[in-house]
Symmetry: C2
Subunit: 223 residues, 2 copies
DNA sequence: AATTTAATTAATTGGTCGTTTAATTACAAG
DNA sequence: CTTGTAATTAAACGACCAATTAATTAAATT
């Protein structure tokens, strides 16, 4: 016995924890993971730091210690998500087989989103759909790099005859992004209705569907 | 002069307003419109009733009077948006030219979303992407009806040879919804980057792109 | 061994939010 | 004309939240 009453078991005393107690990963990473899940499920403004801290097994004050404030925590979460997506783009850009860029990108993209469904949810809800400080982070840290590599390769595939060159490439990018992101956003409500789940199997099947669609369209018969 | 000091111009006194003062529409409708815009721009949880009330030119207490509480106000906003979309579906289902259902639906859909951009934004952020009481509203008030008419007509067009019948229709619906909704959600950030604006012209051009894409695909050359 | 630094909690503070209540005025019905 | 009802505001209440501060413990450095 340590003198503490038995009916208050999980009350930690202050002070730096012993190195042997670091359960799995440092508190900083645990906080980011907890925040990513909560923010994805409830929205950042609908989540209190108390909730995040409890999920992470620490006190709300740790958020200030590691991230300065709530917006700093959100920024760290977004940075992590964008980092994952940047890796996907660079990995796809590394392969130079003719015509394999776009299909590789779609498959890797869907696979990455299925592995971390919080990425598309937070990206859409907290970043891409409103004006906010995160907008600048997104543009400078991600979009500018993505725009410098993706459209070039798409135009290259157009010249090689893999893609029609009469498409407006802005609209093409919009429709591709929409197709790839939407299932992950709508899954909480549409998943039960349409009987799909966002896992690795879905990423594979749905990726085939998307690539088939841009390859031959959905219209039949007339050919 | 009414005895009030001139440096406090817009302070209304309590009591029922004179019938001639009803500027445009009743307070209930003004509140719904104000809330729709705020909720779309900042998210419902990121918007205070004080903000909405100020936009509408009334007091926060009016929210309680007309909608009981904040969730009631959000529900009214969502109901209005879903009503608009239901009209779109029914109008499209009314035309019985063979093969014209899907294309008509896409065009009307995009046109309606362009006219009221808050609909897709609120639908995605507050309804479709999280578990909440609104989920049931969405399913019972909208999805059940939509599911009872749209897939039948799509399958009909498949049998008529307008659409390939080897497509998984669930995936097809997901990709169509993604393509049609995404530009309106991503517009605040992607609009400036890709140089597009969500207006009637865009709805027309982008609708052509989408229909072209499902008609013939994006791949060229090989034909 | 002593001191500084890192990591953590408890407790508090100031502010904002949703909601409620009471008062107030105009309109409607008798 | 009187009484009741509909529509509105002002003011207050309690809850919760993000952020801060002070205390506390372990590790790292000297």
């Amino acid at each position: 016995m340590d003198g503490g009453p038995a009916d208050m078991p999980n009350r930690k005393s202050p002070g730096r924890p012993q190195a042997s107690d670091r359960s799995d990963g440092e508190a900083r990473d645990v906080l980011i993971r907890a925040a990513a899940n909560r923010f994805a499920a409830q929205g950042a403004e609908g989540t209190s730091l108390r909730q995040v801290a409890e999920d992470a097994g620490v006190t709300p004050a740790m958020v200030a210690y590691y991230f300065r404030d709530k917006s700093g925590l959100l920024e760290a979460v977004v940075r992590k998500g964008l980092g994952t997506l940047l890796e996907v783009i660079d990995a796809s850009a590394a392969t130079h087989e003719p015509g394999a860029f776009l299909s590789g990108l779609v498959r890797r993209y869907l696979s990455a989103l299925a592995a971390d469904p919080w990425i598309p949810q937070i990206l859409i809800r907290e970043v891409i759909s409103r004006e906010s400080p995160l907008r600048d982070l997104f543009v400078e840290e991600f979009a500018s790099h993505a725009v410098s590599v993706v459209p070039d390769r798409v135009l290259e595939e157009m010249r090689q005859g893999m893609l029609r060159d009469d498409l407006d490439h802005r609209y093409f990018i919009l429709s591709m992004l929409g197709m790839c992101l939407f299932p992950f956003i709508a899954h909480p409500v549409l998943g039960p209705l349409l009987h799909f789940d966002v896992d690795e199997v879905f990423a594979d099947d749905y990726g085939t569907h998307v690539l088939e669609l841009i390859a031959r369209g959905a219209q039949g018969g007339a050919s």
